[in-house]
């Protein structure tokens, strides 16, 4: 049955076990390019586009929108146009017969806590151990789960380490200091403790500034909406994130992160609230905000640092970023590769994971 | 234990203060100015003062509905107490507690208590705090003959025994639980009850300050040294009714007059220190005069003090809510 490709419920994130088609973007019979989004996939955390693995036409929508199915379930069929309906029916029957749902969550890798000189740092590793190391550093109030879409894509090429910064996720809630330099020292302490030499660094927002501080020891640098490249910062977001206690307040704050706020799932909001309730988090967030965003502005500029670094560097920005304006990517050194994503907010690594992964791999190979 | 001249003066001042405070409340209550109801301690002063002279501010006491004497003996501010009884904002409890709930935690006074038998478990708790935090403090649970028949008292004594708590139970047996004679209501002997819990006890003439002071001193010192709980059965008498307005028709017609004449703890104290030439009448008379002035001042200030404001109704229910 050449020319037939199965669309299966993707595993978007290492812990995902099930999902649903929120909406089909293509009608049955409609042509599809490879990499074009055919459907919106919704998990309890987030909704994301599903890119077609092949060119052809969407011959069959096997799963209706709104039905929760296990990861790996056949949801649609792409064909090159030569197959007839009987062939497709047979293909679907064969796929269904062969499908074995993965044992629930058993295969999901679990984060580990690494003891470092500044306290435990939580890390989620993925990818071959002999591949080049790549470290993912999240932003203010985030955690390693922010990389749930991007990390699996990068893990094909790199030994990836998604870490929780101090004050975040499962890492120590005692900060070694709240400014970029102190957080960079914490990441360096983790790299030493884990025995990681020069690595490809990927940082988002606050984590972008942290990665930039570590540039001299890096193989390449990919900065997503990084802090430190201009004075503006949306303090409604920073202050709102610190203050929000209830789901609806937090939902409204998190909505600022995305070009399309409808992407935010109930579990994402609940996850952030649960994080914020942990002992020490409120103080840590306040200390980081005070150290970096006093008086409502970013008070450390790393533009000179960025201009001086020698490693291949990517700066990626969503044009609809409402937290740090995309204009901060203007007028950077010509050696910096700048990528702007249209209709994308502050979370390009969640909103444009596949595109971004290609750019990161590109800069790492440069 | 030999008491110094200063201690004797302090003891007399404390007992005098209780007596005059209660006599004054008795008089003022009759005018109708004092709200609610009050239970007066007059006649039992040797107990509160004899026991509390052995305590420091870090030690705790749990008191009873007849608590004014315990408050004064434990160092509560007399003017604050009077204002509280008048329901004034300047009262020790801001007018929210009244006579039956006067407390001053800074002085280890854990509260008078409107529930007969309510205080003994609380005293065990204070003793547990002392034991756990190793502060060296002790707790005293005052209770009357009525409370001695409550389950809480028995439970507290057993708990104190099995946990070996630094607590002393003081049974102030004034002969009547409300109108019911303790001679009838207490089955068996309270000392034997204490013994049954493994708690050493002693029966003392509660009119005799010196006897109470010595017995309490021994029990408190033993508790403080880790020797576990103690028990005192004090036989004494109250001069007024269970509450103000109680006609006391259940008592013998000449009972109180005879007690005042023959067994009054203040008179016994004066006779004793006079005979032993420890204190002279002039010094004791001077104390009485000073106390009279203090009570007069406290009463005058209480009457003049403002009532709580309407907003006070809703405050102090919770630390945070």
């Amino acid at each position: 049955m050449a020319g037939l490709r199965a669309l299966v419920m993707p595993k978007m994130g290492l812990a995902m076990t099930e999902g649903m088609v929120a909406a089909w973007r293509k009608a049955p019979g409609e042509p599809v390019a490879a990499g074009e989004e055919v459907a919106d996939i919704e998990t309890s955390k987030i909704t994301a586009g599903y890119e077609s693995p092949a060119a052809g036409s969407l011959r069959r929508q096997v799963v209706k929108p709104g039905v929760m199915v296990p990861v790996g379930t056949l949801i649609g069929v792409i064909a090159d146009g030569t197959a007839d309906d009987a062939e497709i029916d047979a293909f679907i029957a064969a796929q269904h017969a062969a499908f074995v749902p993965a044992a629930e969550a058993a295969s999901a890798p679990a984060p580990a806590r690494v003891a470092t000189e500044i306290g435990p740092i939580q890390v989620l590793e993925a990818g071959p151990e002999d591949a080049p190391p790549l470290v993912l550093i999240h932003g203010f109030g985030g955690d390693l789960n922010n990389w749930l879409f991007l990390q699996p894509l990068l893990a094909a090429r790199f030994h990836t380490f998604a870490i929780d910064l101090p004050g975040h996720g499962g890492s120590t809630k005692t900060l070694p200091g709240g400014n970029f330099a102190a957080l960079a020292r914490a990441v360096a302490a983790f790299l030493r403790a884990r025995g990681i030499g020069p690595a490809h660094l990927v940082g988002h927002s606050l984590g972008g500034a942290v990665a930039l501080m570590l540039a001299p020891e890096s193989l390449s640098l990919s900065l997503i909406s990084p802090a430190g490249l201009g004075p503006e910062i949306n303090m409604d977001y920073i202050g709102g994130f610190i203050a929000a206690r209830r789901a609806r307040e937090m939902q409204a704050v998190l909505a600022m992160l995305f070009a399309d706020p409808a992407l935010i799932g109930r579990d994402m909001v609940e996850g952030v609230l649960r994080y914020k309730r942990l002992d020490g988090v409120a103080a840590a967030l306040q200390a980081i905000a005070a150290a970096n965003f006093a008086n409502g502005r970013q008070n450390t500029s790393l533009r000179a640092t960025l201009a001086a670094i020698r490693v291949p560097t990517l700066v990626a920005w969503g044009e609809a970023d409402r937290i740090i304006p995309a204009a901060h990517a203007d007028a950077l050194s010509p050696s910096v590769r700048v990528v702007r994503f249209p209709e994308t907010g502050h979370m390009a690594h969640m909103e444009r994971a596949a595109d971004l992964a290609r750019h990161i791999i590109g800069i790492a190979d440069a | 234990m030999q008491l110094s001249r200063e201690e004797l003066l302090r003891a007399y001042r404390s007992m005098c203060t209780i007596r005059q405070f209660e006599e004054r409340v008795h008089a003022e209550f009759a005018t109708g100015d004092i709200p609610g109801f009050v239970h007066l301690y007059a006649g039992e002063e040797a107990s509160a003062v004899g026991v509390c002279m052995n305590l420091t501010e870090r030690d705790s006491i749990a008191s009873t509905h007849r608590g004014h004497g315990h408050c004064i003996a434990k160092g509560c501010d007399v003017a604050g107490m009077m204002a509280e009884i008048y329901g004034r904002k300047s009262g020790l409890c801001a007018g929210k507690g009244g006579s039956m709930h006067i407390a001053d935690l800074d002085r280890g006074m854990l509260g008078a208590n409107g529930i007969v038998g309510g205080g003994a478990p609380l005293a065990c708790g204070a003793a547990l705090t002392a034991k756990t935090l190793k502060t060296g403090a002790v707790a005293v649970a005052f209770g009357g003959d009525g409370a001695s028949n409550q389950g809480t008292t028995a439970e507290a004594m057993n708990l104190a025994s099995v946990w070996r708590l630094p607590v002393v139970f003081v049974l102030e047996d004034n002969g009547y639980a409300e109108s019911t004679a303790s001679a009838w209501s207490i089955g068996g002997d309270p000392l034997v009850r204490a013994e049954g819990f493994g708690i050493p006890g002693v029966r003392v003439d509660g009119h005799d300050f010196f006897a109470v002071h010595a017995a309490a001193g021994e029990a408190i010192a033993r508790a403080r040294d880790g020797g576990g709980p103690g028990f005192l059965h004090l036989k004494l008498a109250r001069y007024f009714g269970h509450f103000e307005g109680d006609g006391m028709t259940y008592r013998a017609p000449d009972e109180v007059a005879k007690l005042r004449a023959e067994r009054d703890c203040l008179k016994l104290f004066r006779r004793r220190v006079g005979e032993a030439q420890l204190l002279d009448d002039a010094a004791l008379d001077a104390i009485e005069a000073e106390v009279a002035a203090e009570i007069e001042d406290a009463t005058r200030r209480a009457k003049a003090a403002p009532m709580p404001s309407p907003a006070d109704l809703l405050t102090d229910v919770y630390v945070s809510y």
Partner: protein, 341 residues
């Protein structure tokens, strides 16, 4: 993070607070177990094993077995709280409050007010409640409405392991007396529970489902049933908001009013006996303050006004269940007499 049972969640909360604050002690009947007996120490760890392991870690000085003497040790806990400790006392079954209620509602609850605001009583009383255990009339009651009735007490009714840990830590750190209700049928329920300490605020309701058609308020174990009912109704095209108030005192009535104003229909699920229970309290407050928003009469799902029966046949009949909740929601959906013109 790991999956933990409700029992483990409560244990972990107490353990972490004991490690953090030396003033935290626990006490109760068989809280460690085996006191003075020839066999094992920590033989029970509480009647259902919730406090197992605390005594070996913290010692007999901070994990105190008591005689069977509820007035004695609950009162002692109140007195200890008043004088500087932060006791967590285990009143085994809430039904036993009958023998020690004075120490809770006349003493601990009122110290602060009676004493003019000067007292602090950081006391937690843990207690098991609820039916379904075939434990009959004296070991199955809810009784949280009685405690809710008393000013000065805070009343916490966690609905899941995650909620239990956060609310227990909050309770231990709170400076007022808190009655902490643990449903015996929830002890083996599992949930993702962070390893680290965290707190959940009192008086902030949690929306476990969000919908447009009806609002269901439920307490403790009933939240699980209400969620199940909402999910089944959702599949049938009726979308429900489910509110877990978490605490009945303080009660987040504002969130309830807000949701009722949004949906216009209210069902309150309360395992407590029906007279003067939480359902009647909430129904009264909503009728008083959001009457104009109601499209249908409020429905209460509660047991009948009887003691909890023993026989499984009767106890199952007695308890609210998913079917009863669904039928109450269907009833408020069908009653359309007050639709706005």
């Amino acid at each position: 993070m790991a999956r933990k049972s409700f029992r483990q969640a409560v244990n972990e909360a107490i353990r972490q607070e004991m490690a953090r604050d030396p003033r935290v002690i626990v006490m109760g009947e068989d809280i460690a177990g085996g006191m003075g007996a020839p066999g094992e120490d920590d033989a029970w760890g509480g009647p259902l094993g919730v406090t197992k392991g605390l005594m070996p870690q913290f010692g007999r000085e901070r994990v105190l077995d008591t005689p069977i003497t509820e007035s004695g040790f609950i009162g002692a806990a109140a007195g200890a709280a008043l004088t500087g400790l932060r006791p967590v006392a285990d009143l085994m079954f809430v039904d036993f409050m009958g023998v020690c209620f004075d120490q809770i509602f006349n003493q601990a609850a009122k110290f602060k007010y009676m004493f003019g605001g000067k007292a602090r009583t950081p006391l937690v009383i843990r207690t098991m409640y609820g039916a379904g255990f075939r434990a009959a009339s004296q070991h199955s009651q809810c009784l949280y409405p009685l405690f809710t009735h008393v000013p000065g007490l805070k009343v916490v009714i966690p609905s899941s392991p995650y909620e239990a840990k956060g609310l227990m830590i909050e309770a231990i750190r709170d400076d007022d007396p808190v009655i902490f209700f643990e449903h015996k049928m929830l002890y083996d329920v599992e949930d993702e529970v962070p390893d680290e300490p965290y707190t959940l605020p009192f008086g902030e309701a949690n929306l476990t489902r969000e919908g447009d058609d009806a609002t269901i308020v439920a307490f403790g174990r009933m939240v699980m049933l209400a969620n199940e009912a909402a999910d089944q109704l959702g599949a049938q095209g009726i979308s429900c908001t489910v509110i877990d108030p978490r605490t009945t005192s303080p009660l987040d009535i504002e969130t309830i009013l807000e949701e009722v104003r949004a949906t216009g229909r209210l069902v309150v699920v309360d395992e407590a006996s029906p007279r003067c229970n939480m359902a009647s309290d909430i129904a009264a407050q909503v009728a008083e303050r959001a009457f104009e928003a109601l499209k249908a009469p409020i429905r209460r799902v509660s047991p009948p006004h009887t003691p909890v029966p023993f026989s499984p046949a009767l106890e199952d009949l007695y308890l609210p269940d998913v079917e009863k909740i669904i039928s109450a929601v269907r009833a408020v959906m069908a009653a359309g007499g007050r639709k706005a013109a």
